[in-house]
Subunit: 407 residues, 2 copies
């Protein structure tokens, strides 16, 4: 169903556009904004005056002048317009970062994740958020958004963790869990979705046409994020349940309780299980020390048969999974990340084997496969990118009625 439009929406859209180029390029002058957006100079005047009056952007103190002529005045977001907190949840720790409205990191600290109950976990996050604002001495109401990320399955619309490696299907609704203090400004995304978002952002900055891409994170569990660039629209980002997609019907037992998931062949515990020839229906450990996997990798590199086979099997599971992904979406580039990339030399042959036989690959060729190292940086980049696009949209939509009364 189409929606109606109006002149006010035009202004909203164009204001959002101005903020987004300011976000992407840093501080820009009047004319630069005009060029970057395609809007006329007069319109930029009106919009920047508007945003300045609302205390969203400000004129920077002028730079060293670039030549003759009237010097440029540069606009940038006001740092104190508000703050963003990102929370990166992993199996053993929780990292909090405070970011100002201009996008610069102000503070960061990491706490160990409490073991066991969901309640303790939620309480820890609530306390961590309080600590973040205390350390920076800002008010809670100055925090515009709290952006959480975790591995596992996340509801696409609500901040609900539907399934996670540590808590299983014990779902967490962060909106209710974080209560009045934080619940109303919390968003949650899958970790690998953020990686995909960050990669897509980097690609877009490169001014290429920017094709669709998928990020796959290898670790104790297997994550997937997809960024699809649709014509004329913003990229669409999603994180489907790749790790627990069916690989082999009735196959190896997964820690999710089902059988034959990709993770039950390609997760770290799966590699251990098959390298040691443990029966495939053994209940797997939640966490496997990385050192254990390293040992098997060392054996594999020396040619030990079962170790080689374990990694190869993992690779084939991934390759088949990617092939199914390509069948159900369009063709896209695949970026591989996560701690597991240190074993990629052992996985690669399997991945390619798992891809090669299938119809989609025979038809459109092997996808571009690329290993990307700095997963942590990408996750944070994705957090910031996604969060500020939400914040900017909100701030503009809310500004109008409030400000109109004030003027």
């Amino acid at each position: 169903m189409l929606a109606k439009s109006s002149t006010e929406l035009v202004r909203q859209q164009n204001s959002a556009l101005v903020l987004s180029v300011l976000r992407r390029e840093g501080r820009l002058s009047h004319t630069q904004i005009s060029e970057a957006t395609g809007l006329s100079s007069a319109t930029i005047s009106a919009i920047t005056a508007d945003l300045e009056r609302s205390a969203i952007i400000e004129k920077s103190e002028q730079q060293a002048p670039t030549g003759r002529g009237r010097p440029r005045v540069l606009f940038s977001q006001r740092r104190d317009c508000g703050y963003l907190i990102t929370v990166i949840i992993s199996s053993d720790s929780i990292q909090y970062s405070l970011v100002d409205y201009a996008g610069t990191l102000l503070d960061r600290f990491t706490e160990t994740r409490p073991e066991g109950s969901r309640e303790a976990f939620v309480a820890a996050i609530s306390a961590g958020l309080d600590r973040t604002v205390q350390r920076a001495d800002i008010g809670r109401n100055q925090v515009l958004l709290v952006s959480l990320s975790s591995k596992g399955l996340v509801s696409p619309s609500e901040p609900v963790l539907v399934w996670s490696p540590m808590l299983g299907s014990e779902a967490v609704d962060f909106r209710v869990a974080l209560g009045e203090n934080w619940g109303d400004k919390v968003v949650l995304n899958n970790e690998t979705l953020l990686v995909a978002k960050a990669l897509q952002q980097r690609q877009a900055r490169g001014a290429q046409p920017g094709a669709s891409l998928a990020a796959i994170s290898l670790g104790h569990s297997i994550g997937l994020g997809i960024a699809r660039t649709l014509p004329e629209k913003d990229a669409e980002i999603s994180a489907p349940n790749f790790g627990h997609m069916l690989h082999i019907p009735g196959g190896a037992l997964c820690r999710c309780g089902a059988r034959g998931c990709i993770e039950a062949y390609a997760g770290f515990y799966a590699v251990l299980r098959s390298a040691f020839e443990v029966r495939a229906d053994t209940v797997p450990a939640k966490i496997v020390p990385l050192a254990e996997v390293d040992k098997i990798a060392a054996l594999a590199r020396q040619g030990q048969r079962m170790a080689v086979l374990a990694f190869r099997q993992a690779g084939v599971a991934l390759g088949n999974g990617i092939s199914r992904l390509l069948s159900l979406y369009d063709h896209m580039s695949i970026f591989i990340t996560g701690p597991g990339i240190r074993y990629y030399d052992l996985l690669q042959a399997g991945v390619e084997e798992g891809l090669a036989q299938t119809h989609v690959v025979r038809l459109s060729g092997m996808p571009r496969l690329e290993v990307v190292v700095d997963e942590a940086a990408l996750v944070f980049e994705g957090h910031v990118g996604l969060a500020f696009s939400l914040i900017d949209r909100d701030i503009i939509a809310l500004r109008t009625p409030l400000q109109a009364a004030g003027e």
Copy 2:
């Protein structure tokens, strides 16, 4: 990347909205349009006057008055504004339909599809299109769009048939194949995509929130169409390569040449092959007479073991495939259609078995599975719905410059 907006775009969007409401509801009065769109009466006046001047809509002769008060004047699309030709390509025949701009079917005829070469096939379609306009005695330039559909894999952006059951990977680019006469106004969609579109339309008319859905067509090959309803946007429709998604690595030979495709287990020829215990690497026939499959179904209903097993195996392949679909997209309703539904009693247990074990189903429950009978009607409905949304958008975008000069 966001796009800039302008007042002219506002008018375009609102004009498109008016046309789409008119398309959905039939003839409507001024006030009815205003209610349905949410636009003010004054705006409707301006837009309808505009569209009337451009000969896109017209005032109908007034109806029996509904009561006291000034009688309503009803607007509707002008039938003679232009025409749509839909072409439904199947393995043995090609059906042509001529539709006027108001959406009513004017003419329909079916020709047998020439066997063999791509050239003969393309020539037949070109001739069929010419025949369509000749029979109705209209000019070629009055045809606004030619909407083709076929089974197989279609490029999402271009009118290119990338892979089809009859021609294999011998691709057909209809834009160049139909040349100057038709090439510039041709679109091509997968047949089952159109079924999904039609189902989504029917759902939207029911005024429900309208969740995402997938249509699966069972026949010689297996088709899939997905209609995803995104918040605040138009539904997104796609037709991924479901039939040739990997089911069993290194499994049965598919007629596409790869191994282990879903179709190689669930297509008609696959059922025959396993019922007769032919080796799974036998090159399958392109077309299997439906009567042959009927015979096996009859045996299966009498309890003959291999026949039962053949259908069950097909069901499991479908169930596993659907499970993977649900893993890689959100949860959605599944509608099953196509000639194969007459065997659904034999498939159902396998489908449910193939779904039940997997993580996604354990987490969010069995999807809604529904059998839908009139595939042919749905395909045509989808053709018309999709084509007119394109036509209306085009007509509005093109109108402005031409008409502005005339006035």
